[in-house]
Symmetry: D4
Subunit: 171 residues, 8 copies
């Protein structure tokens, strides 16, 4: 089956964050493709990627970038697919504000769906939830995941209550 | 046909912003419902809304709120549908930072798709693009809209070039 | 005697901060309970906790959370007990601003009492001071604590004045 | 009956914000006193106020101030009563950040309970909730208030759903 | 003579700011062209503009945009001409931070020369100074302008010293 | 008697703020001079001013400027007199942060004494307090002023307590 | 000779920063005293210190504190001596903003002279420059210091120019 | 051939950042000079440098500084050459905001071309692009560089696609 989600990033140095999106999509059984596309260093490659995405069967694009992060917004300007933007805290970032605002504050008419700073994992889950809106099986996987999250908290709470915080903190 | 997008807001004072989402959905031929649901004043109503959304046929939830804006994130915690969060600049807002960060910085596991401050319009377009991922007719409307945006800029540019900026600014 | 203060946190990773609240309550002789309750991963557990707190004898709730920190505000929306919020600086936090603003900027009608970033210790003292408003023994412990703080500063000042800063900094 | 809540503010210009605290306390049937006490212009008055509060029967102090807002923290340093700080956006304020941080970021040992910027109303409710922890009648009033908040949202939602947003926005 | 400076802006609403750049270039006798080019609404037009600029004789591009301001950086990615970016404070801007950071924080390899918020005038002078580096006549105009700035301050100072501040403020 | 305080500002538009410094100096009986000196438009004038100040009998320089406010720091680099910097919120200021940080964050070796945003009044008082350190008469005036501040607060408090806040707010 | 400068700090942990002020005063031959005075933990000690400073011969007070840094402003409220405030970046500081704003943004009437974050050294130089306004010998030392700063830069420049940056960076 | 670009920095500690500018100019075959010039410690040296630059054949000045970074703006005030400012994050910097705003927010009339925080590399490329506007050979080198950037991304993308992210991350 063709990939439904396209994961792109401005630089290979963003991979540790963006791989978390891929990992979540595997967990939910959603096919994806993943590559490097730089808005500033490979503008033509970005244009080709954005313009061909829908016809290649992509349903959602997840784009991560740092600093003056133009990739998510520029891709969104060239496709009508939903684009999820992942602000990445680059090495000379001003606490992440630069990538957050470059991705979040898109002008009226060209939306990008921003997630938290370095939020590769959430971008993957959000992409899956979009696919899951129209795919009952993926939706079900998401519900199972939510249940697991809940159970983990409950277990952790039970342990903490049973042992007491002094015991837990000792470890 | 049942609504595919649920638009909710924390207070009726958010309506001018959130109505822009509704307006865009009408433009793209996507059915929606719109109401007030407050995380802090009607928590049970919020829970009921979030938990019943999928079975009522909703595909995307658009939630707007200001200040310590918990509505989008709390709804996202109780459904696996994609939730779009609209940060609204409330009257005592600290320049909008409060609602932006309350919506954007969701913990790993529970994503919200944040749009720009007061970005009701973009939330509507993003919701339509999600529906359009799986509905060719909506996708087409989105492409028409993108083309219109382009043409408006081109016309404005042509006029500016023809008349010169001094003439335009006089008006 | 039943716990008078309920300490909850969004994740066990918040324990080192929140344990400081527990430690202070022990110092002031105030009974407490402590557990993990996640707004986003265990919303129902949070609802149950908030709604049952008063009848279980709880007088104050101390809730700590990081990032888009919804736990204190959501708990406050479901109880009329005073809720103290501890903003915790999570791993991908934007310098703590996210949790601070998510907790501080509550809308009119639903207050949360915010303390400093990572201020678990102060949350414990504040909780004790609330109990101490109506419990002379706790109030007395608080006064003793204040006196100890004062004496420690005076001793440190006396030492510094006696030895001189060059001697002190050598160590 | 003696006042249980002491409302103070750094300047009479803060009165419109701080009067909202008084108004809420009246709604909940909690006695209060209200006056001007400036940390910087009347330090001795502040000291006297803080040191005599408990013996005068005060259970909670609500202190509002703008700019480099030292009043709440300094009062907290001289009493072991709970002190609620209201950051007020003064005329040359840097978007309110100055008063927020001056009140919120108290050092370990001396807590202040900060509410939202200009949050006089929430300060009043929080003070009542502290009194209500030990006074069933006040607690009941708080529950009634919460219910009213809920009903107002529900009414507003019902109206919006019945009339539609276009009709509502026309007004 | 062909235009040496190309002034572009993301939207005609940016014209009042960007016209100041044009005005300064006229003052220094530098030919320019001015039009609207939107990164997000007319990406192809932007690509064409950027890629043809050098061969059309342009020496410097001045690009203004607001919000998530991608125009200056994207143009810089497709030409090796110097690109001056003017951050414009749009209507839903977060105090201008969004456009400033989107323009300033370009990744290594693709520089943009950022000027102050709404700094259309300075962008025009900077463009002229670049032309003036290789054109003695323009350099001379710039020196004359600098002298005029100086004289205006001196006159204003002389007047103030002569009349006194009370007299001046009366007006 | 020669002026002891030199008040300078980067532009005549700063006069309303800087005149407050002059007014306070008059109140304390401290002679001053006041003029416009621009770091960026009249650098030589600034150099002359700074280098001649001490020999002209000046004891303190008060320098106000907005935006990238270099005047106070540059003057401080060319005299060993104390320099008080007044950050002024200019028309395109980013909430005042630009002038505050340009004045406050001087490198080690070249201090500037920064006062609050638009704090012309406090700059005047601070200059007087420096003169007053070595002039008993000025010190006395400062003490009288402090007493007046105190009395005004006490009067305002007495009135508020006597009339009640409802009466006061009516006006 | 009696100390002319009083250096105080909120906590002994501030000593490494505040000792730099002492060191500079020694360099300029200005007598000083140095101790710990906490606004929040030893309010009475602070009051005594501030109120007795002038009669003890102190000409300038240098006060350093972190977080919600009330010490400089509160001391300034109780003396008419000039008070220099040193914002110190405490362990849970929000990037230093809290202490900066708590010290800088004093209300009209009660000035504090703020220096840069962690600017103990500059506080010492500023205190010396205030003393030097009325003491020719100290002024002379300051001029010597300024000359040394200049010479060090010139030497460093000469070396860099002679060796080239590649050679210098190798080390 | 004489240097066409003058690289200056406020302190030798800025060299690692500013050397990147030199390195890029070498890559593009542009002659440069590099030295230390401090606005605050060697104001006269700065004046001499700025005023003599054009007659010495300099076409562009690149000036880097940290904290209250006045060097780029003050140099720009004394020459009509284009000045590129590099904000450098100094040791006590407030996340870089101080140097960014001190350089970016220049008043109308005196532009500085700001690049990203610590953006020495981009400053070098920008300087080359200014030279390249009038020197075809340099322009060509810039185009080659842009092509290399593109190819590196393409290679990295090809490798990532071929090996898969799991393989890449293993390394």
């Amino acid at each position: 089956m063709n990939p439904q989600v396209g994961i792109i990033m401005g630089s290979q140095s963003d991979l540790p964050i963006m791989a978390e999106a891929a990992q979540m999509l595997e967990e939910f059984g959603v096919n994806y493709e993943l590559t490097v596309v730089s808005a500033h260093r490979t503008p033509q490659r970005m244009i080709d990627y954005a313009q061909s995405a829908r016809e290649r069967g992509i349903k959602v694009i997840v784009a991560g970038a740092g600093g003056a992060a133009h990739l998510p917004g520029m891709v969104a300007s060239m496709t009508s697919l939903p684009v999820i933007g992942v602000p990445i805290k680059s090495s000379n970032s001003i606490d992440g504000w630069d990538s957050i605002l470059s991705i979040l504050q898109m002008p009226a008419g060209i939306p990008v769906a921003a997630v938290a700073l370095n939020g590769g994992k959430n971008a993957g889950i959000l992409a899956a939830s979009i696919v899951g809106s129209f795919d009952a099986k993926v939706a079900e996987s998401l519900d199972v995941y939510k249940k697991t999250l809940k159970e983990k908290v409950e277990e952790s709470a039970a342990l903490l209550e049973a042992k007491g915080w002094k015991e837990i903190l000792k470890k």
